[in-house]
């Protein structure tokens, strides 16, 4: 290997700065061993949108000529290391650039590495990660999805821990010393961060993933038309109108078949249909028109369309009727209403399992109140555990506090 190609997959806005720092850190660390490098974001992404999966890349090479080979590309066709900054991205990513759903390990080379920050077990993660027809290594840095957005930067050391772990994965490109020197020299450097990088180097957990392991889901994809097949005048057909759900009742709108948005989701709404008073607020306020109207007048959030913004939870007037739950607790996009209709008791039990998990219901879209970060970080540092904190008052806050 004479070049090391890394992608950094992150959540738009929430992790934009974090990803950029990691990509820069990789190049600057490798520079310490005389390598050349570039760092860039995928231009077709739109990382200014909440939660949308986006990518940065870092490429380092032995010579300028080898680097040029990679600079000539819009984006790498394969990566030696796929860095994933939020484990809900394990389900795959759909870029704003309309590529269909890409498994998180799609670009990872055979015997390459997927390096992820996660508190989940390997087996839990492999329920989400798609199968790959080649062996690769899943490597974990034990951490929650870090929030390092456009306007604030969360100094939780995630960037240096990733760099430290990468020094373990690709020692011929990034030495731990090189990483340490780079961290100190760049703007966000400190001795404490060098220490964190070293710890991550020592604590990284790895597991080889066989071709039989992973989710068997076939990711949705679509072909692109030829120039003469496209309608002229930059015109595309409108989404057709929908139809009643069944028996002339309810209403299910048609949706964009090419852009489904659900990989933008870090949390999803879980709806208690027994509590619903059919007030229509969720249906009206959902910015992505996700709600299908059911024949009984309740509203089912379509999980292929939902981007997990949490608006429905915020507007629902009934206490604990809609609860946002960490996406990693789910394995498919099946209809909740259908599950509820089939067996109401089983649904209640299933729902209790989801919304009763306090860790899962406060997975933050960011900071919900001033001081949240300090609280969480202190608890993390003191105990190594995960602090559970309240949501915004009014958003079922009391039920979310442990």
């Amino acid at each position: 290997m004479a070049a090391l190609i890394c992608e950094v997959v992150y959540r738009g806005i929430f992790q934009k700065n974090l990803a950029a720092r990691i990509a820069r850190g990789i190049v600057l660390s490798a520079r310490k061993s005389g390598r050349w490098g570039i760092a860039f974001g995928r231009y077709g992404d739109s990382p200014q949108r909440n939660g949308i999966p986006a990518k940065d890349f870092a490429i380092v090479a032995d010579s300028k000529e080898e680097l040029e080979q990679n600079m000539a590309r819009y984006e790498p066709k394969h990566t030696d290391v796929t860095i994933v900054l939020d484990d809900t991205l394990a389900k795959g990513v759909e870029s704003w650039a309309w590529y269909g759903l890409q498994p998180i390990n799609r670009l990872t080379v055979p015997h390459g590495t997927v390096l992820m920050t996660s508190l989940q077990s390997f087996d839990e993660l492999l329920k989400d990660i798609h199968k790959k027809d080649a062996i690769y290594t899943l490597a974990l840095v034990r951490a929650r999805a870090s929030f390092s957005g456009l306007w604030v930067y969360r100094e939780d050391h995630t960037e240096v821990r990733i760099l430290g772990a990468l020094a373990r994965i690709a020692p011929s490109f990034l030495t731990l010393d090189g990483v340490g020197q780079a961290i100190k020299e760049i703007e966000w450097g400190s001795d404490l961060k060098v220490e964190s990088a070293k710890k991550a180097y020592g604590r990284i957990e790895t597991r080889e993933v066989k071709i039989t392991e992973g989710s068997a889901e076939i990711p949705f994809s679509f072909g692109l038309p030829k120039w003469w097949e496209m309608r002229e005048g930059v015109t595309i057909p409108a989404i057709p109108v929908g139809k009643p759900k069944e028996g002339g009742k309810g209403y299910v709108p048609e949706r964009n078949p090419y852009f489904k948005k659900y990989t933008s989701r870090t949390m999803r709404p879980v709806i208690d249909f027994d509590k619903c008073v059919k007030c229509t607020l969720c249906w009206i306020q959902c910015p992505d028109s996700c709600f299908d109207v059911m024949p009984d007048g309740t509203y089912d959030a379509n999980m292929e369309a939902c981007c997990g913004c949490g608006v429905c939870e915020a507007v629902c007037p009934v206490e604990q009727c809609i609860t946002m739950v960490n996406e990693s607790l789910f394995e498919d996009n099946a209809s909740q209403w259908e599950m509820w209709r089939t067996d109401k008791d089983r649904y209640q039990a299933w729902m209790a399992g989801k919304i009763g998990d306090k860790v899962a219901t406060v997975r933050s879209h960011g900071f919900r109140f001033r001081g949240q970060y300090e609280q969480e970080l202190k608890r993390d540092l003191d105990t190594g555990g995960v602090e559970i904190t309240a949501g915004i008052p009014g958003e079922n806050a009391q039920h979310k506090t442990v």
Binding site: F40, Y43, G44, E68, M71, A72, L224, K226
Partner: protein, 409 residues
């Protein structure tokens, strides 16, 4: 008593930074001690504004940063600032550049040495961010100096050179530097940033002299004129553009002397053209896949070379003709279009055709259009173009057609 000689600048070293093309321009502006910059965001140009804003916020640059209400006023403001003696910077992309067109038009006749960055972007519709060169090419007939770059280093160096040339009293014309959206504006590469002392040696203060708008120098700029005056004004500008050829060569030579780098030939980069049978021509970062493809093809015995055009205005006619007429076939890859033009070719292909008209030796010239809207120009695209050029070389004639590469057909 002897006249005090200026102390030699301290031998400060270049700093190596990991920065994008846009950030490299901001470094150059800081070194050039920019006075006035106006800003109005459009992707990918906005990356430059952000980088300059950061420089100012960090106290590294003291400059007037004016947020305009649109591209039109943005260019109008710096035009006026320049007439009162300020070193100015501005820029835009795609339709933003188009929206400023009225101001872009008046800048050369008023002899305003504005330096701009065009982050090349496809024109709407469709709304898209990727690179196409048609935006900067809008002003190709109007007295703007135009050049294209292909690395962060070249972005930094060319910005300094552009001020030196534009602000030369023999010229006083605006200069737009074009950087391919994404490939340059958003990609960070290791770049050498020279110390300020060196830049001060290379780049004198802007001196507007007799054209300075100032109470001590009472003048009126841009009075209304009728047919008795206009053609003479155009002729003056034409002469200034002519002189730019000499001044650009001087500037590059001096840059080399001060900074120890800069090409011998400012006008275009020649890559493996010495013995080349087929010479490909392009502008901007399209050089990257072409160079890689050339190395691959040479390994298989095919003698292919690249001429990467840096300066499009003034167009280096004689030098380019001399370089290209040695080839057996020329393949011009345009990242732009010129619909309805001769042979329906791209702008660069037709410029080169025109330039070659009086040449004694005119190799077959093939025209290609590729990479529009930021589409990656692949090695396969380059191989395909080269094969067609070999075909034309063998036949001894061009096919008088334009070939689109990388389009889904």
């Amino acid at each position: 008593m002897a006249v005090a000689t200026k102390a030699a600048p301290a031998a400060a070293e270049d700093k190596e930074l990991l920065i994008s093309g846009s950030e490299a321009v901001a470094e150059a502006l800081t070194l050039a001690d920019l006075d006035v910059v106006t800003a109005y965001p459009i992707r990918p140009y906005d990356t430059v504004m952000q980088a300059i804003a950061k420089k100012i916020a960090n106290g590294q640059l003291v400059a007037e940063y004016i947020v305009a209400e649109g591209e039109h006023s943005q260019f109008e403001i710096v035009k006026h600032a320049s007439t009162v003696g300020a070193r100015v910077f501005c820029g835009s992309s795609g339709v933003g550049w188009a929206y400023a067109m009225e101001c872009l038009v008046v800048t050369p006749p008023l002899r305003v040495p504005m330096v701009c960055l065009v982050g090349n972007r496809a024109l709407d519709d469709p709304g898209a961010f990727g690179v196409e060169h048609n935006d900067a090419l809008f002003v190709r007939d109007l007295g703007w100096m135009l050049c294209w770059i292909d690395s962060s280093q070249e972005a930094l160096d060319t910005t300094l050179i552009a001020y030196r040339v534009a602000e030369d009293r023999r010229i006083f014309l605006p200069c737009a530097i074009s950087a391919d959206g994404a490939f340059l504006t958003h990609s960070q590469a290791l770049t050498l940033v020279p110390p300020k002392e060196k830049v001060d040696t290379f780049l004198p203060r802007y001196n507007r002299g007799d054209l300075l708008l100032h109470p001590d120098n009472p003048i009126t700029v841009a009075p209304q004129a009728n047919e008795d005056w206009v053609i003479e004004i155009r002729r003056q500008n034409d002469e200034a553009m002519k002189r730019a050829s000499t001044v650009i060569e001087e500037a590059y030579a001096d840059f080399r002397r001060v900074f120890g780098r800069a090409p011998d030939n400012p006008w275009f980069e020649e890559y493996m053209t010495q013995d080349a049978e087929v010479v490909l021509v392009g502008m901007g970062t399209i050089s990257l896949p072409i160079k890689v493809a050339i190395r691959e093809m040479r390994a298989k015995g095919k003698k292919v070379g690249l001429v990467r055009l840096r300066w499009f205005r003034p167009f280096p006619t004689e030098k380019l003709v001399a370089a290209l007429s040695k080839a057996q076939a020329i393949g011009v890859i345009d990242r732009d279009y010129s619909m309805g033009s001769p042979f329906m070719s791209g702008v660069v292909a037709n410029e080169i055709r025109a330039a070659m008209y009086n040449a004694d030796r005119r190799p077959p010239l093939l025209s290609f259009i590729s990479g529009l809207g930021g589409r990656e120009v692949t090695l396969e695209d380059v191989y395909k173009a080269t094969e067609m050029c070999y075909g034309a070389a063998k036949a001894g004639r061009s096919d008088a057609k334009t070939h689109w590469l990388g389009v889904r057909d």
